[in-house]
């Protein structure tokens, strides 16, 4: 199985007023198509930074990353954005729905950014898949937290323009109560399985991490443990 995501010797440092600060130190990993990976760790351990680098939102100080077979560390910002528009979906902790847009318009946004004409029907279809067909024209402020996150999930899946897709989720249940959190996670895994997308998840919750095929534990910018939970060897190349 070919790797959907591969990172080699990632280092990331930022300049601060107290001198350079190392956020990530020598991270390598590989993830096959359709698999899921959970990244856990305490606050400040570098999980979200790693997620951002893997998704091409930023460039590492050192190291190389391949996403869907293309080396994103060799790309400029515009090229990375084009790649994201094609095959990357995001789910954020605080939903990040645009408050001025209705649920449907929020889900339409990725398709519209790609210039697709069928954006509205595609958005309605995804909202129906997350059970919000009756909330198409509601604004985020008119939706509950759980509903907002379901809209965000619909938007994430609408981000893929066919072919390979990889979903990055940053603490998707972090702003929800346990009941709503469970529903959202069930939905996320259900859609993931249906669409055969690859999933990278940052979370605090062990419960959630255990549902993923692989699990990285991080501390102080380094990987402290890597498990392949379902016994397969997809993580055989994860280096610590």
């Amino acid at each position: 199985m070919s790797a959907m995501l591969r990172a080699e010797n990632l280092h990331h440092r930022v300049a601060t007023s107290e001198g350079p600060l190392t956020l990530l130190n020598n991270i390598s990993l590989q993830l096959a198509r359709g698999e899921s990976l959970a990244i856990t760790g305490a606050s400040g351990s570098g999980k979200s930074t790693l997620l951002g680098l893997l998704a091409g939102l930023d460039k590492p100080t050192e190291g190389r990353i391949w996403l869907a077979g293309e080396e994103i560390t060799a790309m400029d910002e515009e090229q990375r954005a084009a790649l994201r528009a094609r095959c990357v979906g995001f789910v954020f902790q605080t939903f990040q729905l645009l408050p001025g847009l209705t649920a449907q318009e929020n889900v339409m946004l990725p398709s519209e950014l790609r210039g697709e004409r069928s954006a509205a029907s595609r958005a309605a279809e995804f909202l129906a898949r997350v059970g919000l067909e009756h909330r198409l024209h509601h604004y985020p402020r008119q939706l509950s937290g759980g509903e907002q996150q379901r809209v965000a999930i619909a938007r994430a899946f609408a981000s893929f323009s066919g072919g390979d897709g990889i979903l990055f989720a940053d603490e998707p249940t972090g702003s929800l109560d346990a009941g709503n959190g469970d529903k959202v996670i069930d939905l996320l895994f259900k859609l993931n399985a249906e669409s055969n997308t690859t999933l990278v998840l940052v979370t605090h919750e062990q419960r959630l991490a255990q549902r993923c095929g692989a699990h990285l534990r991080m501390a102080a910018g380094e990987i402290t443990a890597a498990d392949s939970l379902d016994g397969n060897d997809n993580l055989s190349e994860v280096s610590i």
């Binding site: 939102l57 515009e78 084009a82 995001f90 990040q96 001025g100 990725p110 950014l113």
Partner: protein, 821 residues
């Protein structure tokens, strides 16, 4: 299409309305002012040209070559003629000196005559004089000649029928040729009358009007042909007082327009900054969904362009509507119907819309496009881009260029730049004070308020500068308007002298004073007057004395001057150098501008020829005076005791109320050798014009005050969200409403005081430059400015801020937090 879709969605969400409102406001204000200024200044110019009854006048002491007039006709110019002279008029046994004016067909080219065909009939505006064989007379001539309308009178050898009473003529002059009651006749009757003989003192006025270019070219052609007896008069020379009032009013309106641009730019800048901040999350999310910087930029530039077009169009429409309504409302006050709107104010509005949008909204949008998509993960919505210089340079530069273009005045642009520089420098200083201030000793509301100010010190610099700009514009405009209008009122006080008496023989002084006193008329001093020619300066004959090359030979050396003497310095005269007669007892005091033209120094010896005798006197002082004071004034005033031996006549001026107008007839009858100059009608016309200009200025100022208040509101709105959130958190933690309310009032009040103080400093600097360079008024320090500035700041900003943030105090904190989330 995507930018438009997003624009529409954003609009519905209420986000873009902020920038749009600011832009609409900017364009509306500037368009309305530009329209209004344009129409008003053209109306005022048209009206003021009626003072000449033409656009230009060629004045000559003898008839001009007919080919000159032929040339004008060939160039398509309208042309008419008016000949004025003083002549005896007879009716039966009665004789009277009259100011005769003979006019051709076509007179007046501009403006109208007001006449009546019967006594008691309503006045009619007509644009022609009497036909040949008829005469129109000023009403007071009838009793002097014991005439009725329809009777005949004798002008030289011709008999004319009096068919009209003349109440007003547009170009009534104040010259010596025009003394006495007016008799208006047709120019064709002059030959038969035979009153003009070689050597008669006659003034020929040739009136021209037509296309500006044709006029310009004709007078360019004419100029080299003019002799020293001929002069071309335009409005500036014809009515310097009106011209100067119009000039200043026009500059004031341009200033107001420029300030509107300034205010509008600040409003747009604040709104765009807030929009940019609020959209950081949008852009971070869009970028994480795959939008590159180019795409983001294209979306926002597309939105900005569409928004600017929409807002500008709305502003142009609103501005045009407002000005037409304003003009309609004030129609009764305008003696002349304002000409229709032109295209140029719309271009001004359009340029304002785009300059504000590009200069002030573009930099925040550029910054927005550089948003780091990682911010979506970090949930950090700050705007870390440090390239603020683009905003700092592009905004003010585009604003100053626009102001320069609008006002056409480098002085106005410099004045505003000076004021703004002071304001921004001061804001930075306040920022430093806030950052370094120690607040630990303060308690309660003060601590919360000052703490909040300190936390937002950097943004407060911007806010103080914005509030300050609003206040500066309002203060500068109110004080400039007050100075201008006061100056005009002072120049023409209600009871300014409106009649001059001269040629008063010494023995007539006492009886005249008694007559005036009996009629409760207060006059100015009776000044003795001797006519003399300045023939040498320091022994150098006047003919050789041509020191001032710029102005050629000073006029004062070519003609006789009125010389006077007096013990007392007139109230409108001021000694600038040297000494008055209380300190020295010999010499002559010279008007300062003439002294400069003659390059005189104190102590220079001036030799005068008076009736063939010579008198020499040293220059004892230089004296400024106010030619507009309507009092007798003199270039040369001698020390008492120098000229007493020469035969003198006296001159005085007085205010005659309209209801006592017939007293002039008594004076003419009882003192036949005394000449009367009646200025009442012309003063009334000047006063009407100035009242109209003042009204225009006040209405434009009212518009500006509204714009200023809107900037304050935009400023408050720009900072509201963060303050609401903090207040809600403090309340959640148990803070009392009263405490919060007090701290809000204090916080905005302090911002207002700081902005008000800086605005006062900026306005003082602006006014200093404006008064000297633009309005040509003396510099005055304005202590009131320093009181009104901080007070108005505290009151306006304090109340606007507290009102805007009152929901944080009145609503449950949870609701506030939810809404903000």
């Amino acid at each position: 299409m995507l930018p438009l879709k997003l624009l529409f969605r954003d609009w519905r969400g209420g986000e873009l309305a902020l920038i749009a409102t600011a832009l609409v406001l900017a364009v509306t204000c500037v368009t309305a002012i530009a329209h209004f200024t344009d129409r008003l200044s053209r109306a005022m110019e048209q009206q003021s040209l009626t003072f000449l009854a033409a656009e230009r006048v060629l004045r000559s002491s003898r008839p001009v070559d007919d080919s000159w007039l032929q040339e004008a006709r060939e160039r398509g110019l309208k042309q008419a003629e008016a000949v004025t002279f003083a002549s005896m008029v007879a009716a039966g046994d009665q004789f009277q000196f009259a100011a005769v004016k003979a006019v051709s067909d076509g007179y007046p080219l501009l403006g109208t005559l007001e006449m009546r065909s019967a006594e008691g009939a309503p006045g009619r505006q007509v644009q022609h004089g009497p036909p040949p064989g008829e005469a129109w007379v000023e009403p007071r001539l009838l009793p002097l000649l014991e005439l009725q309308l329809g009777d005949t009178l004798q002008l030289g050898d011709t008999t004319l029928t009096v068919t009209g009473l003349l109440d007003r003529e547009p170009d009534r002059s104040t010259s010596l040729f025009d003394m006495g009651a007016r008799l208006l006749v047709h120019v064709d009757d002059l030959a038969a009358a035979g009153v003009i003989q070689p050597g008669s003192r006659v003034r020929y006025r040739y009136l021209f009007a037509g296309d500006d270019r044709a006029l310009e070219q004709y007078f360019k052609w004419l100029k080299p042909r003019l002799t020293e007896h001929q002069r071309v008069i335009d409005l500036r020379e014809g009515q310097p007082r009106v011209a100067s009032a119009l000039d200043r009013a026009e500059r004031f309106l341009f200033l107001a327009g420029s300030l509107a641009v300034l205010l509008a730019s600040v409003a747009v800048g604040l709104a765009a900054r807030r929009y940019g901040l609020r959209h950081t999350a949008y852009v971070a999310v869009m970028k994480s969904l795959g939008a590159g910087r180019g795409k983001v930029l294209a979306i926002y530039l597309g939105q900005l362009t569409a928004l600017t077009l929409l807002a500008t169009a709305t502003g142009l429409l609103l501005g045009s509507l407002i000005q037409s309504q304003a003009v309609n409302l004030m129609a009764d006050f305008f003696p002349v119907e304002p000409p229709p709107s032109q295209l140029s104010p719309l271009l001004v509005g359009l340029a304002t819309g785009f300059a504000c949008a590009l200069g002030f909204a573009l930099p925040p949008l550029f910054r927005l496009s550089r948003t780091d998509p990682m911010q979506a993960l970090r949930r950090d919505w700050s705007n870390p881009d440090r390239r603020e210089w683009l905003g700092l340079v592009l905004g003010p530069t585009s604003m100053l260029l626009l102001i320069w273009w609008l006002s056409g005045s480098l002085a106005i642009t410099t004045a505003l730049f000076a004021g703004m520089a002071l304001l921004v420098g001061g804001s930075a200083l306040v920022n430093q004070l806030l950052v370094r201030g120690r607040l630990s000793s303060l308690g309660g509301a003060w601590r919360i308020a000052l703490g909040s100010l300190q936390r937002r010190a950097a943004f407060n610099t911007l806010l103080i500068a914005a509030f300050g700009t609003g206040l500066l514009a309002m203060l500068a405009l109110v004080f400039a308007r007050t100075a201008l209008i006061d100056e005009w009122r002072m120049q023409l006080p209600e009871q300014a002298p409106n009649h001059f008496l001269f040629n008063i023989a010494p023995h007539e002084v006492d009886p005249l004073q008694t007559t005036l006193a009996d009629n409760n008329i207060g006059s100015t001093e009776f000044y003795p007057m001797v006519r003399g020619r300045l023939i040498a300066i320091n022994g150098i004959p006047a003919k050789e004395y041509k020191k001032d090359q710029r102005n050629g030979e000073p006029n004062a050396l070519r003609r006789e001057l009125n010389l006077s003497w007096t013990e007392n310095l007139a109230p409108d005269n001021r000694i600038l150098e040297g000494e008055w007669w209380d300190k020295t007892d010999r010499g002559v005091s010279v008007e300062v501008e003439l002294a400069a033209r003659l390059n005189l120094a104190l102590g220079d010896m001036l030799r005068f020829s008076i009736g063939g005798l010579e008198v020499e006197a040293p220059v004892a002082s230089f004296r400024s005076l106010d030619w507009n004071s309507m009092r007798p004034n003199f270039y040369m005033i001698f020390a008492p005791g120098t000229l007493e031996d020469f035969p003198a006549t006296y001159i005085t001026s007085f205010y005659l109320p309209p209801e006592q107008k017939l007293l002039v007839n008594d004076l003419v009858r009882n003192f036949p050798s005394v000449s009367v100059i009646e200025l009442d009608k012309i003063i009334q016309r000047i006063r009407d014009t100035i009242a109209q200009v003042s009204l225009a200025i006040e209405s434009v100022m009212a518009l500006m005050l509204v714009a200023g208040v809107l900037v304050l509101i935009a400023g408050v709105r720009a900072s509201i969200a963060e303050r609401l959130q903090e207040a809600a958190i403090i309340r959640t933690l148990g803070g009392r409403r009263r405490l919060l309310l007090q701290s809000l009032v204090l916080e905005f009040g302090l911002l207002g005081v700081a902005a008000g103080l800086l605005a006062a400093a900026g306005a003082e600097a602006t006014l200093a430059v404006l008064s000297q360079r633009v309005f040509e008024l003396p510099f005055v320090f304005h202590p009131m400015l320093w009181l009104v500035g901080p007070l108005a700041g505290a009151l306006l900003v304090g109340s606007a801020g507290t009102l805007a943030c009152r929901s944080s105090v009145s609503q449950p904190p949870l609701q506030v937090l939810r809404e903000l989330a």
